[in-house]
Symmetry: C2
Amino acid sequence: MGRSIYPKIAQELRKEIRSGAHPFQSLLPTEEQLCERFGCSHAAVRRALQELAATGYVQPRQGRGVTVIWRPERDETAGYATGGLETFPEICAARGLEPKTKLLVFEHLQADEQVLPESGFAEGTPLVHMRRLRIADGIPVAVEDTFTSEREIPGITEEIALGGTYAYIEGTLGIEILTSRRTFSMVRADAEDARLLALPAGSYIAQVESHTFCSTGAQFEVILSRQIPEFFSARVVVTRPRH
Amino acid sequence: MGRSIYPKIAQELRKEIRSGAHPFQSLLPTEEQLCERFGCSHAAVRRALQELAATGYVQPRQGRGVTVIWRPERDETAGYATGGLETFPEICAARGLEPKTKLLVFEHLQADEQVLPESGFAEGTPLVHMRRLRIADGIPVAVEDTFTSEREIPGITEEIALGGTYAYIEGTLGIEILTSRRTFSMVRADAEDARLLALPAGSYIAQVESHTFCSTGAQFEVILSRQIPEFFSARVVVTRPRH
DNA sequence: GAGTGGTCTAGACCACATG
DNA sequence: ATGTGGTCTAGACCACTCC
C-alpha cells in the first residue's frame, strides 16, 4: 500500500465533489487534464473514476465527459447494513445516537439445516451464535442473530461480542472483511422479537440477512438482523453495465 | 461495441460459475491461464474479474487466487427495485406472477419544493407525474409515484405509462438508463395508500425512493414506490475497497 | 523462491458527441 | 474535424501467500 495512486485521486475528487467544487450535473475536468494534474497515466485516472462511478458520484459518458451526479442529501446518515459495511456503533454515531448492546445469547453450535437453513456453511462447521439486542438512545431498535465460523474466526468471547466483533476480526486477527451479500425484506415479528423490541406481536419489522466473506474468500459470518421500522434504512447505488 | 472482449470473458465465467463448473469456495484458474484461454492481456482479464467481484461472484486475493463466493440461492427472484434495474413486469415474470398496472394519476406539473422536496430537479423543471397501482396475481402490491423530467424524456403519454416507460425510453428514444440511487425505508401508509393496498391505515409498508440518471448524466426520473411487506425484497452486494 | 493478484506506464486504436 | 471517454496490448514492478 502507499504506492497506489488511484485511491488518492478518487479521494481528492470525492472531497471536491462533496465540497461543492464540482456541483451536481456539472462536468469534471477531462481525463487528460486529470492525468496532468496527478502526473499519472490514463489507466490510473480511469481506475479512480470507475470507483466514483460505482459509488454514485459521477457518470461518465463516451464522447462527452464525466458528469457529477452526487448531491448532498437531507439524510447522509447512511442506512443500517448498507453502503459501506458499517457497524452498529458507527451508524449510531452518524445519526447522533447513543449505542448500547445487550448480549442475550452466546453459545457454540454446529452448522446444520435445522439451526440455519441455506446458511452457506458446510454441514458441521463449528459456529458461535450470538443474539444481541441493539439499543439506540435507550430505545431497542434491533435484534441480531450472528453466526460466526470458529474455523475462520477463532477465539470469540462474550466480551468481544459486546465490544464489537469487527474490531476484533480486523484489529486483532488482521482479517479483512471485503464482501457482503445482503437481502432486505419485511417479516412479522415473532413473540420473542416483539417482546424485546416492545412491539405488538405480529408487527412487521425489517429484516436484513447478511452473508459476509473475508479476504480469504471464506464465508465467515451470517447475520439476521430484525429492526424496528423507524430505525431501518438503506441506501444503494445501482449501475447497469453498458453492453 | 462488439470489439469489447471483457464482457465475453465475464459472461462466460459467470455462466461456468452458475453451472457449478467452479463451485462455491473453489479457486478460479489463474489470471495468466485465463489470458491464454481467451487470448488476451492481463488488463482485459482483470477488467472481467473486477466485474464479477463487484457483483458478488468472486473474491480475488493477492498472492492466493480468485475464490468463487457465489452459490445458488433459494430465491433467485431478485427483489423489486434492486440488483439490476428491473421493471415491475420483469420482477413478476421472475417470480411467476401475473403483472397488471392501473394508472391512477397522469398530470403535468413543475418541479418545486412543495410537489417533491429534495427531488434533485431544478426548480421549474417540467415534469410528468404518474401514480400507478401495481397488481400481481390480482393482489395490489405497490403504489408508485413517478416524476419524469419532460426535458429529458419528452412525449410520455398515458398509453406509454401503462405499457412501460422504460421500454419507451430505451426502445423508442434510445436513451440508456445507467445509474440509480435508491433508499429503502419503512413508512406508515397514509389513508390513500392503505385504501389502494387494502391495508389498515397506519400499517407499515416498504418505501423505495429512486433517483435515476440516464446516459447524459441528467437526472430524469424520481420514483417513490410504496410496497406491501409481502412483496418487498431487495438483494445487494456490498464490497469494501481495500485501502 | 516461485507463483499469484494489484498497480502502473506508454502508447495505440475505437466509438461517440458536438460544433 | 476535434475532443472526449472506452478498450486493449506489452511490459514492468510491487505485495502478498505458500512451500
